[in-house]
């Protein structure tokens, strides 16, 4: 490797560290992203043009064509995607990264079968890369709705863990030299892909963000391992950075939901059965309401707080909610949004969605700041949110969400809840808030119902 290339890699590594650092602060995040992107560009161009190898021209052309094709595809997807589709997009891209690592491993297995360190890294890259790939694809399918059911083999946890152990033993034998041959590596690939599928498929759709974050961390590790193979520092350090940052992010998400990582991965089924039991114990009388009554109520309110949740994202109602907010503001009502950290499909997702529909930044109030304000609030409008306003988190130690901080909407003078049915939310538990005296249920799809509400308000 030429010394220039080494220095370029060093610079890229530094841009990665600095970029990641800046990404962690709202004011500098954009700059951080650009710096990291710049470093990545540098590393790519350096790798192609400063390699000191004798390479036929047509391979250069192939590489450049590949890069052009991929860039155009990536770019188009990135600018076209709807912001509600963010989680599945990250999952898709992440899967591609994993696939890339696995492919590298396969080609390199053809070239090196002697050195034990190299074979180890190759096997690891193939296993991790393909698990990431197939796992991410399943996560993607679950999130975009193509795969609705959580398919669970009987004793799936046991099967999965056995399969994982088998994979590792298999890999060990290949490294060992006990088994070898071109075909063996494809079998390894196949089983890794299967494991990735079986790993993700039993996990509920709402847990996908955690899974994606975990898989993202794994892709980083795969990149780092490939870096060891090539003794390439930028891959190693960059990969490890993503690996450790991703893991921290994963734990942060679990913590915000008051669950453990193992509960997310292995506990899906247990969680549901508890939930089902719980659901039946709550009961009482519910009050229904309709858009025109709500319109009247809001029209004469001084202060309205909107609580957006997962259902808002699903219904794509972020634009109409913004319309509602503007209309009310014009009528002299003070409106703000209460943002729960894990409302929506991934952490911080509500911020992105509402920012996209031009909601002004200072109307989004974080949980800890808005909670004391509910006391002075006339109307709370909960749109497609459920768990994040469930008082069981405070009151019921046996509830699966017990201990999770929630938005304390109960304190408000009246509560309007928009959802389609009495079905529970992600945690699968009923919500006693719905039976509260102050609560009125506004049933219906968020987008349709809010559109009607806006219409009523306009006519007043």
């Amino acid at each position: 490797m030429s010394i220039t290339l080494s220095i370029i890699y060093l610079i890229s590594t530094i841009t990665f560290v600095i970029g990641l650092k800046l990404l962690g602060h709202p004011e500098t995040a954009k700059k951080g992203n650009s710096i990291a992107a710049f470093g990545m560009g540098l590393a790519i161009i350096g790798t192609i043009f400063l390699n000191n190898l004798e390479v036929p021209i047509f391979i250069y052309i192939l590489i450049i064509v590949a890069i052009l094709i991929g860039s155009v595809i990536g770019w188009l997807i990135a600018i076209k995607v709807e912001m509600t589709k963010m989680p599945e997009l990250v999952s898709l891209f992440n899967g591609f990264g994993g696939a890339s690592a696995a492919l590298i491993g396969i080609v390199e297995y053809g070239n090196n079968q002697a050195d034990i360190t190299q074979v180890t890294t190759i096997i690891a890259a193939i296993i991790i890369g393909s698990i990431t790939f197939s796992g991410s694809m399943i996560a993607w399918a679950k999130l975009n709705g193509s795969l609705k059911k959580d398919i669970r083999l009987p004793k799936y946890n046991l099967i999965n863990n056995l399969l994982l152990i088998a994979l590792i033993v298999f890999g060990f034998f290949i490294v060992n030299g006990s088994i070898n041959g071109e075909i063996i590596i494809y079998i390894l690939l196949l089983f890794s892909l299967i494991y990735g599928i079986l790993f993700v498929i039993p996990i509920g759709g709402a847990d996908m963000p955690v899974v994606i974050s975990l898989l993202n961390s794994l892709t980083g590790i795969a990149a780092a391992i490939t870096g060891i193979l090539y003794d390439n520092m930028v891959m190693m350090v960059g990969g490890i950075l993503v690996g450790s940052a991703g893991l921290i992010l994963t734990f942060a998400m679990c913590k915000a939901m008051n669950r453990s990582l193992s509960n997310v991965i292995f506990g899906a089924f247990g969680g549901d059965s508890v939930a089902a039991k719980k659901g039946s114990t709550i009961g009482g009388h519910i009050k229904k309401t309709n858009p025109s009554d709500v319109a009247v109520l809001m029209n004469y309110a001084d202060k309205v707080v909107i609580v957006p949740g997962y259902g808002l994202a699903v219904a794509q109602a972020q634009h109409v909610i913004h319309e509602l907010e503007e209309l009310l503001t014009k009528k002299g009502v003070e409106v703000s949004y209460a943002i729960h950290p894990v409302a929506g499909r991934m952490p911080g997702h509500m911020n992105v969605l509402l920012a996209e529909s031009n909601v002004s930044y200072d109307k989004l109030i974080e949980m800890d700041d808005i909670n004391p304000q509910f006391k002075n609030t006339d109307v709370v409008l909960v749109v497609g949110a459920n768990d994040v306003v469930n008082p069981a988190a405070h009151n019921d130690p046996s509830s699966p969400i017990y201990g999770m901080p929630i938005l304390e909407v109960e304190d408000a003078r009246s509560i309007i809840i928009n959802k389609r049915s009495m079905n529970p939310g992600y945690a699968g538990i009923q919500n006693e808030l719905f039976f509260n005296q102050k609560t009125s249920m506004l049933f219906g799809d968020a987008k349709e119902t809010l559109t009607k509400l806006v219409q009523e308000l306009k006519n007043m």
Binding site: A37, F93, A245
Partner: protein
């Protein structure tokens, strides 16, 4: 066991680098506000596309007559660069939206 010790001995500095990088990753990410979780995940995802460097090396090192290696390498480059370009672009788009709203 012997092999692991050998490996450790030869790659001591590497291990330091890996451990230090883990610390940095942890140190840099913890305590970031929830607002930024989504862009950060997407940005980290773009960074993991650094595997593209390996994909390019596969192609550069490939025997020009080994069409299997070349095609797999080609695919690896395409997939890797999608991860990189798409990841950074979409992160930028998200952050752009925050910025616009802020003033």
């Amino acid at each position: 066991m012997q092999q692991i010790i050998e490996f450790l001995k030869e790659n001591l500095q590497l291990i330091y680098i890996l451990i230090l990088a883990v610390f940095i990753g942890v140190e840099v990410i913890k305590n970031i506000p929830a607002v930024l979780h989504t862009p950060l995940m997407s940005g980290a995802n773009a960074l993991s596309g650094v595997v593209i460097v390996g994909a390019i090396l596969v192609m550069l090192n490939a025997d020009p007559n080994n069409y299997v290696a070349l095609s797999l390498g080609f695919l690896a480059v395409v997939l890797g660069i999608i991860n990189v370009v798409g990841g950074f672009a979409v992160t930028d788009r998200m952050l752009q939206m925050f910025k616009k709203k802020k003033k």
